[in-house]
């Protein structure tokens, strides 16, 4: 069974440009999460989808970030325009159900560098 996949693995862009990150969850997992780790800091929650609906987007930094999950399958996270402080590793995770007992399976992350 394929795990959570993320594309690209690395992205280097200039300040002001747009970048779109993609996450493909494990097939059948309705719950999809985005997290971000900025250099030297904790991994922080960004948002949570249940199927195609945003369940919780309280961690999104600002309106330069837009997440979508069309059809309840893969998700994209767009940063427009990118700023220097957006650099970090963006993780996606998926789980079959919501709650304590639902293990979240993580993807390898996308390392974003904004110059």
């Amino acid at each position: 069974e394929a795990g959570v996949t993320q594309f690209p693995s690395h992205s280097v862009i200039e300040k002001g440009q747009t970048v779109t990150l993609r996450c493909d969850p494990i097939s059948g997992h309705d719950n999809l999460y985005w997290y971000r780790r900025v250099m030297g800091k904790e991994i922080k929650f960004l948002l949570h989808f249940v199927k195609e609906s945003k369940q919780d987007e309280s961690g999104m930094p600002n309106n330069r970030f837009l997440a979508e999950r069309t059809g309840g399958t893969y998700s994209t996270l767009k940063v427009q325009p990118a700023e220097l402080e957006d650099s970090g590793v963006y993780f996606c995770a998926s789980s079959q159900v919501r709650g304590y007992v639902a293990e979240q399976f993580f993807g390898p992350g996308t390392r974003l560098t904004v110059l």
Partner: protein, 113 residues
Amino acid sequence: AQTVTQSQPEMSVQEAETVTLSCTYDTSENNYYLFWYKQPPSRQMILVIRQEAYKQQNATENRFSVNFQKAAKSFSLKISDSQLGDTAMYFCAFMGSNYKLTFGKGTLLTVNP
């Protein structure tokens, strides 16, 4: 808001020895879960072990065990018989009633041959 603190940015251990990674957390909730995740170099983060707060018995998964002290809000990870493949970044994480994971900054563990 919950916080998770890992006070050891880096640790090292000799192969076959035992090492303990520390984690403390702060919360006002009574029911929650605690997790240890492992991220090997250039690989995906995987769940190592999970502890339910309402269970007094410490969780164990093969060579991995936890020391959960609820009153002290402490959740340390013990790795016995360390192996080279245990070299990784280890993250302690908390999940409360909002089902969001709150992570510590991580501890980079190196197992030396």
